[in-house]
C-alpha cells in the first residue's frame, strides 16, 4: 500500500471553524466530535443533530436495464420499489456474503442512486460493472460531485421544513423527494443511521457549505448540534444498524448477519441466491446477536467472546451506549447460544465479564 493523504470533505474548513476534532475513517479525514460524543449522541435522541456524511459513496446506475442490473447484484427485491422510494439491501457474492450493504434510491426504472460505504466505493462500482450480463446500464461515481448531510432527531422535520417548500410530512420513511433546501436543489430522503426520524440530503458540493450553515442556523433554537462520527457510531449501534467491515463483510452471509428480511429468494436469479437458498435449507451454524454487558467495563470490538471457557468469536461492535447508559455490543455466536437470555463471557483485558443475549434493536424510538 502506498501511503496517501486522507481525503477531505468539502466541509473540512467549516468543521475546523466549529472546533471539530478529526479522525481518519475509510481513507477520509472526518469530524470525530465537536463538543463531545455523549452530548452529540443525546442531542440526536432528544432534539436533532447534523452530520456531514460526505465520505459515503454515491453511485448512479442509469440505462434501459438499470433495474435488471440492480436485481442481479443485490439480494433484496428492487422491483418492489416505486419511483422515489428507498430500499436497504446488499451486494452479495456467490457465497451469499457481503460485498457491501447499501441503500437503493429509485428515481425511475432506468435511473437509480446507490449509497454505499466509503471504503467500498471503488470496489462496488467495479463489482457492478463487471457483473453486467448484457444489461444496458452504466455505473457512474457521483461521490465527488454530491455531498451528503444527515439531519437526524425528533426536531429534524420541523427544522428542515423552515428551509424548504417541499411538504416533508408527505415524505414517508424510506421515501425521497427532489426539491430546494435553502434555495439549493437537493435530494431530500427520509432515511438515516441513528434510529431516529430524520433526513439525508444529497447536495451539490459547491453549495453544501451554504446548506450546512443554513440548517445549523435554522436548528439553533431547537437545540440542533453538529455531530461527528463518534456519535454516529454509538447511535447506529443502539439502533442495531450494522457497520460494514466490522459486523459483516465478505466472510459473513446475509442470513448470519440476521438480515434475512432483505433476502428475497423468490424475486428471480441474483448473485448469491443458490448459496443463500442452500444455507436456509441446511440451517445456520452461527448468527449475529446483540448483547448487554453486566459490568461497568465496555466490551469493545475485537475482545474475545467465550462460552464455557472456550473462545468462540469476538465482539464485532461494542461500546458504552450513551442514551441507554449501559454497555452493549454485537457478536456472532454458535446458533445454539443465540436465544434471548443466553449468558456468555467476554474477556476484557485480564478479566472475564458476564454478557447476555438481549432483544434488538437496543433502542427503539417512541412512536409519535
Amino acid at each position: 500500500m502506498v501511503a496517501t493523504q486522507p481525503k477531505r470533505s468539502p466541509l473540512h474548513e467549516t468543521h475546523e471553524a466549529l472546533g471539530a476534532r478529526f479522525t481518519e475513517f475509510a481513507g477520509w479525514l472526518m469530524p470525530l466530535q465537536y463538543t463531545g460524543a455523549i452530548e452529540e449522541h443525546l442531542a440526536v435522541r432528544t432534539a436533532a443533530g447534523l452530520f456531514d456524511v460526505s465520505h459515503m459513496g454515491r453511485l448512479e446506475v442509469r440505462g434501459r436495464d438499470a433495474l435488471a442490473l440492480i436485481q442481479r447484484v443485490t439480494c433484496n427485491d428492487a422491483a418492489r420499489l416505486r419511483d422515489h422510494q428507498v430500499q436497504y439491501s446488499a451486494l452479495t457474492t456467490e457465497r451469499g456474503t457481503f460485498v457491501d450493504d447499501l441503500t437503493i434510491y429509485r428515481f425511475r426504472e432506468d435511473h437509480f442512486l446507490l449509497c454505499v460505504n466509503a471504503a467500498n466505493r471503488e470496489k462496488d462500482a467495479r463489482w457492478i460493472r463487471e457483473h453486467r450480463a448484457g444489461e444496458e446500464a452504466e455505473v457512474y461515481d457521483l461521490s465527488d460531485e454530491l455531498a451528503q448531510l444527515a439531519l437526524q432527531g425528533p426536531a429534524a422535520s420541523e427544522i428542515l421544513q423552515s428551509l424548504t417548500e417541499v411538504q416533508l410530512d408527505h415524505i414517508r420513511s424510506y421515501w425521497f423527494e427532489q426539491g430546494e433546501v435553502a434555495g439549493v436543489p437537493c435530494v431530500i430522503s427520509r432515511t438515516g443511521y441513528t434510529g431516529e426520524d430524520g433526513f439525508e440530503l444529497y447536495v451539490p458540493v459547491d453549495s453544501v457549505e451554504w446548506v450546512w450553515n443554513r440548517v445549523l442556523d435554522a436548528g439553533q433554537a431547537a437545540g440542533l448540534k453538529p455531530c461527528g462520527l463518534a456519535a454516529r457510531n454509538t447511535l447506529r449501534l443502539e439502533a442495531r444498524m450494522l457497520l460494514y467491515g466490522h459486523d459483516m463483510d465478505e466472510t459473513t452471509t446475509v442470513w448470519e448477519a440476521d438480515l434475512g428480511w432483505i433476502v428475497k429468494l423468490e424475486k428471480g436469479d441474483f448473485i448469491g441466491r443458490d448459496a443463500l437458498r442452500r444455507q436456509k435449507e441446511e440451517g445456520l451454524r452461527r448468527k449475529l446477536v446483540g448483547f448487554q454487558v453486566h459490568d461497568r467495563a465496555p466490551a469493545r470490538e475485537g475482545y474475545p467472546v467465550l462460552i464455557q471457557g472456550r473462545v468462540v468469536g469476538q465482539v464485532t461492535s461494542g461500546s458504552y451506549a450513551p442514551f441507554l447508559r449501559k454497555n452493549i455490543g454485537l457478536t456472532y455466536l454458535p446458533i445454539e447460544y443465540t436465544s434471548i437470555g443466553t449468558r456468555f463471557q467476554i474477556r476484557v483485558r485480564e478479566r472475564e465479564v458476564e454478557a447476555e443475549v438481549v432483544p434488538t434493536p437496543f433502542y427503539k424510538r417512541p412512536r409519535s
Partner: protein
C-alpha cells in the same frame, strides 16, 4: 485551554501527582482528559497493590478508546477514588480535584525528581500539540 496546577508534578504519559507527607494523590491531566473525550469507565487497582514507577496501574476509557494509566512513582496503593465507578465523568469535569484516581504511599520519594514541574509539563504539552 488546558490548566497546569503548580502544586503537581507530571509524567510524559499525562498523569499528575500531588504529594503531601509521602502520600501522593494521582490522576490524569486536563490535557489528557480533553484529548480522551467523554470518559465512561475507569479501571483502578486495589488498596494494598504495589507498583513500580512507570508500571501500568489501570485504564481509562472514553466513548472511543482505552488508554493505560502509568505510575508516576513506586509505592503501595492506600486509597482509590470509589466515586469514579458511579461517576467516571468526574475525570472530565474536575481532573485535578474530584477526578483523582488513586493515593499511593511512596516507597522512594527521590523518584519525584524525575517528574516534570508545571512549567516543564506545559512546555511538553505545547510540543505534543505541534506534532
Amino acid at each position: 485551554m488546558a490548566t497546569y496546577p503548580e502544586d503537581c508534578l507530571y509524567t510524559r504519559e499525562h498523569e499528575w501527582i500531588r504529594v503531601e507527607d509521602d502520600v501522593g494523590v494521582i490522576g490524569i491531566t486536563d490535557y489528557a482528559q480533553e484529548a480522551l473525550g467523554d470518559i465512561v469507565y475507569v479501571e483502578l487497582p486495589s488498596v494494598g497493590d504495589h507498583f513500580s514507577q512507570g508500571e501500568p496501574f489501570g485504564n481509562v476509557e472514553s466513548v472511543k478508546a482505552v488508554s493505560e494509566l502509568y505510575m508516576p512513582v513506586s509505592g503501595e496503593i492506600v486509597a482509590i477514588n470509589e466515586d469514579l465507578a458511579e461517576s467516571p465523568q468526574l475525570v472530565n469535569e474536575d481532573p485535578y480535584g474530584d477526578g483523582w484516581m488513586v493515593k499511593i504511599a511512596l516507597s522512594d520519594p527521590t523518584e519525584l525528581e524525575t517528574l516534570m514541574s508545571a512549567s516543564e509539563y506545559e512546555e511538553y504539552v505545547k510540543e505534543e500539540r505541534e506534532k
